[in-house]
Symmetry: C2
Subunit: 308 residues, 2 copies
């Protein structure tokens, strides 16, 4: 089935305790598309870059089966740029530079050829842009998932709530879930947030794994314990991309299949953090992903005896 991703395609510059990069390719849309491509071969992207964005990277994304018709290239303008520095524990970071550039006036135009897409993943963008995408699709996709962040809760909560009412799956981290719900307990937070619209809520807890809430059911996926986390940038988007790529390629939105999709997303995220930026997503093969998924099976699998 086809998957449409709307998300930033951007430049990042990253500092971690292990080193720093020059401007490298980043953006939620990039991580999502690369990650989803391990499962779903029929992808489309809506995004915007400046004329400074390298054609080789667009070609790379296209080579993974991603239709880039909807990737606008703005003449005379510059690509979105973010720069950040991670602290020693890798769990917190300072933003050094944010240059919105082309993203500041992003109008998400949907090419006619994208109409009828089966699955939709809205990467972290303004809730208004996310809503425009939903409204501009003539038919509602089978499943709509979205990411967001505390920034939008701070400055555009009403807008965010309007968009949340339209989606099926919300994918956010624990801190964002607490801010959105005003509840510390993630169980309580999940009820408040699901009352806002999304029937499914995925709460990412970084090195502590991820939770999926739906009706009275909850599923927990561990994160793979790693010797080193080299660069966490894009891990959340990689997770979301792997999740939706798996859902779209299996065309199955059941709770049981969402569990598998979360493991698939977690496996890809565990690769992502091993090198800077998208490097590992460009290096690894589908076979590598399957091997990593098997590690998750070993990590989480247990078989209770019925009687002792």
């Amino acid at each position: 089935m086809s998957l449409l991703t709307v998300g930033s395609v951007a430049f990042d510059a990253i500092e971690t305790p292990f080193g720093k990069t020059d401007k490298i390719i980043g953006g939620a849309g990039t991580y999502i598309a690369l990650s989803a491509s391990f499962f779903e071969k029929d992808q489309k992207i809506v995004s915007v870059v400046g004329e400074d964005f390298p054609q080789e990277m667009i070609d790379l994304i296209a080579s993974k089966g991603v239709d880039t018709t909807g990737l606008q290239i703005k003449k005379g303008e510059k690509t979105f740029f973010w720069s950040g520095r991670y602290h020693n524990d890798m769990n917190s970071r300072d933003t050094l530079v944010t240059e919105l550039n082309v993203l500041g006036t992003f109008d998400p135009v949907i090419p006619d050829s994208y109409q009828g897409v089966d699955y939709l993943l809205l990467g972290n963008l303004s809730p208004q842009v996310q809503r425009q995408v939903i409204e501009r699709l003539h038919e509602r996709p089978k499943l709509i998932a979205m990411d967001t962040m505390n920034f939008w809760m701070d400055i555009a909560m009403d807008d965010l709530k309007q968009t949340l009412a339209l989606v099926d799956v919300l994918i956010i981290n624990d801190e964002e879930a607490r801010q959105l719900s005003n509840e510390y307990s993630l169980v309580k937070a999940s009820k408040v947030i699901r009352a806002m619209g999304p029937k499914y809520l995925i709460i990412k807890k970084g090195e502590h794994g991820a939770l999926l809430f739906h009706e009275d059911k909850v599923f927990f996926a561990p994160a793979l314990p790693l010797e080193d986390v080299f660069d966490p940038t894009g891990a959340g988007d990689t997770f979301a991309g792997g999740f939706m790529g798996y859902i779209a390629s299996t065309d199955d939105s059941s709770f049981e299949n969402m569990k598998r999709a979360i493991i698939a997303g977690s496996a890809l995220a565990s690769y992502c953090v091993e090198k800077f930026g998208t490097e590992q997503l460009q290096n690894i093969s589908r076979e590598d992903v399957d091997k990593r998924i098997e590690k998750f099976v070993q990590l989480a699998n247990f078989d209770m005896l019925q009687t002792i």
Copy 2:
């Protein structure tokens, strides 16, 4: 099989955002014995209390199948007392009062009737006392597990290392693992710590679950997401007690069975935090425990398709 626990039997006074208690019954040995009793019916305890300790509580512990011959009652002395206040997030606490009392001169005498015990769990006590217990058993138990804490790393690291060299399983939390190994990554920490002696390392991460390391294998057990954590006191000891009670009752120290034992310990810990002190451990039935274990199966269980 029989299980010997060595650990404090004490008074606690606890303050949490939900309320506060007067002096209630606590201590690692108490939590461990009550928790293990859901699985293992042949338990023994070595500990010490003052004459202020209520006979009803000793009777309660004995009624769970725990031989209290080794529980010394010191005439004219007072029981160990700890008082603490939890912060709003429940993840950190201040110690308000620590009165060692009888624990300050604790000499862990092993009754003759305890010799030949099958399994040994050393609750958090001075590493010297823990080592004395091992040395005073004429036959080495099939499996020796121990707990410890940062306090002993601060003031008695050499002693601690001598004791660690004698045990099979170390059960500590993530902060303690980092301090003991001087490594932030828990994967690296687990290697450093297992080189000190314990072939098995369990790292408790509180609301984020627990990890079991052995050789090149790792298992992750989630914590049950709860609406409220009412009082975390004793959750770690309850976990350890459930773990060793399960191991002893099944007489199986294989990695696969340790996974089950960790789930059993996690289930009991998830009950423990629902009320103050040992209240829930006194309230619940074995049937309740089995139901809670089933919740963990639902929480963690997934079945990857071989091909998609």
